[in-house]
């Protein structure tokens, strides 16, 4: 418990720096937000009044402190375009993004562990080479291109799966409990809704998951190889422990700590990849919303969305440390 508290404290500076970065970036952005909000025909007096109201005329430090205080209170500001709090705009999108990213993550972990362990235990064989090639290939494919090609093939040419979106228009989305359609539809006891949600998820989640799975497989392989060379592995084999047991119980568990740590960094990559996947598949998530807001120069929304991303990254980094502490009892402060 103590360990977790220490980690939480250590993450604070990171959150602080990320928030500062977001603030600075968006203050450097050209254009007057007040003028943008009122449109081309507003008079200078009206614009000036709005600037005053929005606090844009205050010294930059005052604005900075106010921003930090707002974030601390969970206030992400008001969208210029929609004139409603940013949080109201993104809270549903946040769960959509989470659903997509989590499914992709699970897929990547399953494939990555499978391919990684498989190659590591067959080092130097054709299988190892194929596993390596898989890693290099999945990395080389731009995620958006893979998405568009998958759309062309599976949705348009073969018509097996829906092209885009998160849920069919002819069904009422499940009542919100968790915000994850897969869970909510089951809670409602509606199998048809669950299947509809799955059908929409298959393509984007697979594309996003494949993208990470290759890198993950290579990390698992490298770490497994390193652990399998250790003396305790030799000792276990000498004692006559079954090879499968040696691999999973002695090898994998010890290889897992660096892998879990890198998984945390991969999660950030997944969020970046989500921007592309969500856009390709018209997934109503936070990442595609960020692109939309950026293109419209709705900077308060952008600031709010990027703040949430920063908090997510920090949360995952804490989570990873906690998991590592659980997997490996040697890790303590």
């Amino acid at each position: 418990m103590n360990y977790i508290a220490v980690r939480l404290l250590l993450t604070l500076p990171m959150v602080f720096i990320l928030l500062t970065l977001v603030f600075v970036l968006l203050r450097v952005a050209p254009g007057d937000p007040a003028a943008a909000m009122l449109g081309a025909h507003a008079s200078i007096e009206v614009i000036e009044e709005l600037r005053q109201q929005m606090g844009l005329n205050d010294p930059i430090l005052v604005q900075y402190v106010r921003y930090l205080a707002d974030v601390a209170r969970g206030d992400l500001g008001v969208s210029f375009r929609f004139k409603v709090p940013v949080w109201d705009l993104i809270k549903h999108r946040l769960t959509a993004t989470l659903e997509l990213v989590l499914c992709a993550f699970v897929l990547a972990v399953v494939i990555g562990l499978g391919v990684g362990i498989f190659s590591a235990t067959r080092r130097g064989t054709v299988w190892d080479f194929l596993g390596d090639t898989y890693g290099i290939l999945t990395y080389a494919f731009p995620i958006f291109w893979l998405g568009v090609m998958a759309q062309l093939l599976f949705a348009i040419q073969l018509d097996w799966l829906p092209t885009s979106g998160r849920f069919p228009a002819y069904l009422v989305p499940p009542a919100r409990h968790t915000g994850l359609y897969l869970v909510d539809s089951l809670l409602e006891g509606r199998l048809d809704k669950f299947l509809a949600a799955v059908r929409h998820l298959v393509l984007p989640a697979t594309v996003l998951g494949l993208y990470i799975s290759g890198i993950f497989a290579r990390m698992v392989r490298t770490n497994m190889l390193q652990t399998l060379k250790a003396d305790y592995i030799l000792a276990a084999r000498a004692r006559g422990v079954k090879e499968r047991w040696v691999t999973l119980r002695h090898g994998l568990r010890n290889a897992l700590v660096p892998v879990v740590t890198m998984l945390g960094l991969q999660f950030a990559m997944l969020l970046g990849g989500a921007v592309l996947t969500e856009t390709t598949f018209n997934w109503p998530g936070m990442a595609s919303f960020l692109v939309e807001r950026l293109l419209e120069r709705d900077y308060p929304s952008v600031q709010g969305i990027v703040t949430v991303f920063a908090l997510m990254v920090a949360a995952v980094s804490i989570l990873i440390d906690v998991i590592n502490a659980l997997v490996d009892p040697r890790i303590r402060y």
């Binding site: 500076p13 990171m14 720096i17 990320l18 970065l21 970036l25 968006l26 450097v28 952005a29 050209p30 290099i136 290939l137 990395y139 080389a140 494919f141 731009p142 995620i143 958006f144 291109w145 568009v148 090609m149 759309q151 062309l152 348009i156 092209t163 885009s164 490298t222 190889l225 390193q226 060379k229 960094l265 950030a268 990559m269 969020l271 970046g272 990849g273 921007v275 592309l276 856009t279 390709t280 990442a287 960020l290 692109v291 950026l294 293109l295 120069r297 952008v302 990027v306 991303f309 920063a310 990254v313 980094s317």
Partner: protein, 291 residues
């Protein structure tokens, strides 16, 4: 000399060596295409209506044409120029900022080092593409702006590698000797530390180039960085995709999406193979541990 050559020949015949050769050939091919683009491309890549709308590949339009009558072959060929220009520029900026900061931070240590490490780690932990699109959106489109947006992502990587390497080299006896002889700090960093640290830069440079192209392609797919009518692969995939969501019919759309996408894939493969092969050959310790 002959022994070096013999050793080199041995190295090149391993898997890593073959990777370096294959990757190097691919990258060289792209460089050649970029240089020879005006000779190779039969049409102006930015000119509308040089061909009919959505023609299938034939002798005149080797990769077919797009919905606006652009010649896809010419655009793909000229795309190599933009890709390599942006990557070169972005790497240059990232090295120019990241390496000196890493050297100073690693050598000086103390509070400056802690602050810089925290700052760079924070930037590093943030999703690459999200950072790049925010910067690209703020800067606006254009080749240089796109390069800056891409470089922001890679500065922390050069910083980290340089700093960690500097920390190790700093403790070497020859550095201590230089210090004892009264060499100044800039002198030590420049003449004793940098030459030892700089060896690791080419490998990261090659591997980052692959990543940088992916980032740039992602940026332009989303509508940032490189914008129409500039010929760039990510942009062409995006145009085809936008068109596709409207009509869904044409087999031409397959060409229009597949060709620029493959251009990206092959170049990334080239850089990755080259970078990883070099890494294996230049860092034999790492290779041992993987064997």
């Amino acid at each position: 000399m002959r022994r070096t050559w013999a050793r080199l020949k041995d190295e090149l015949l391993t898997v890593s060596g073959l990777r370096v050769i294959l990757g190097g050939l691919i990258v060289l091919f792209y460089v050649a295409v970029a240089v020879l683009a005006p000779v190779l491309a039969p049409f102006d890549p930015e000119k509308l209506g040089v061909g009919p709308m959505l023609a299938l590949p034939d002798e005149t339009y080797r990769f077919g044409t797009t919905h606006l009558g652009y010649d896809l072959f010419s655009r793909t060929v000229y795309g190599t120029r933009i890709a390599l220009e942006v990557v070169l520029l972005a790497s240059f900026i990232a090295v120019l900022v990241g390496v000196p900061l890493g050297l100073v931070s690693g050598y000086t240590g103390g509070r400056l080092d802690r602050t810089l490490v925290l700052l760079m780690d924070s930037v590093y932990s943030f999703p690459d593409l999200i950072l790049a699109i925010v910067v690209a959106a703020i800067l606006g489109s254009g080749l240089v702006n796109a390069a800056v947006a891409v470089s922001v992502v890679y500065i922390p990587q050069y910083f980290r590698v340089t700093r960690n390497h500097t920390l190790a080299v700093r403790e070497e006896p020859f550095v201590e000797a230089a210090r004892a002889l009264g060499a100044t700090r800039p002198d030590i960093i420049r003449r004793y530390i940098f030459p030892n640290v700089s060896q690791s830069i080419p490998v990261i440079l090659t591997l980052n180039s692959a990543d940088a192209i992916l980032t740039l392609a992602g940026l332009s797919f989303l509508g940032f960085g490189i914008t129409p009518p500039k010929p760039f692969w990510g942009l062409d995939v995006s145009e085809a995709w936008r068109y596709l969501t409207l009509t869904q019919e044409y087999p031409q759309v397959w060409w229009w999406t597949a060709v620029p996408g493959l251009a990206i894939v092959i170049l990334i493969l080239g850089f990755t193979l080259l970078g990883e092969g070099l890494n294996d050959i230049l860092n034999p310790q790492l290779r041992e541990s993987q064997r």
